[in-house]
Symmetry: C2
Subunit: 129 residues, 2 copies
DNA sequence: GCCGCTAAAGAGATTAGTTCTCATTACCCT
DNA sequence: AGGGTAATGAGAACTAATCTCTTTAGCGGC
């Protein structure tokens, strides 16, 4: 992470993230920590989440209203396919997607390219309802 | 737009957007207007841009830092490859991208899929600087 | 061309989310 | 146990955007 020390606060945040598997905002996580008796500064939550995201330990995405959401992730680059009715999330991605994106960018001479991609749809279950 | 009146301010904003073909933030547009002697309130710029975006007269996108950018748009589905230094924008998209995305979604049984995709990179010119 | 209705503008306050500052605390190595 | 220093916490600051409320000015009707 940022430095190297294992603090009570970082431990608590990591533990919480292990339990929650939906995307949550920094503020929600802060409130959840408070609810279970952990007094941790909001700034610390932001710092820790930011650091974990930098270290690719977390997935982040941005809502329409500009809020950042965080969730534990499985380390490789991927995107989300989110059901717009029930919120069920599937992680997608892989060579196909990435190479097409990379090719498009390269075709225009752009370097050092990053991308954001979010898919929204209706999942199998919700389609049946 | 919101109502019906053609005001000096709306005319100026529309004219500016016709000249600029890169994505610009509301604040940048406000500054550009000020630079050319138009005194228009920031709130008015936001209101007008918001209204134009609602009316599908503008393309909008969100930067990493959560800022909204606006640009006059050409109404068909496409994505943007934006230079993170100078803002130069290329419209990309086409069968390759779309079909890969569609295939991925279909593979998970999701229907009625929409997607957002933004590419950020450094353009040829800025790479040389 | 003038009047009046009311949409729209402008200034500034406000909000939401996030980041920064800096004094204090507490890891962790020896 | 002691000390160096990374990390924390409280609150201020910052950024982008929105809201409030008073004032201004389109525009249709006369």
């Amino acid at each position: 992470m940022i430095g190297q020390r294992t603090t009570r606060q970082r431990t608590a945040i990591a533990a919480l993230l292990d339990e929650v598997d939906e995307f949550r905002s920094a503020q929600q996580l802060h409130a959840l920590l408070a609810a279970r008796g952990e007094t941790i500064g909001l700034a610390t939550v932001y710092r820790t989440l930011g650091a974990m995201a930098d270290a690719d330990e977390l997935d982040t995405l941005r809502t329409d209203s500009g809020q950042s959401l965080y969730r534990r992730c499985e380390r490789q680059h991927h995107h989300h396919l989110v059901c717009r009715r029930c919120g069920a999330t599937v992680e997608v991605g892989g060579a196909g997607l990435e190479s097409v994106v990379k090719a498009v960018a390269a075709a225009h001479g752009y370097t050092d390219v990053t991308h954001t991609l979010e898919l929204f749809g209706t999942c199998t279950r919700c389609t049946r309802l």
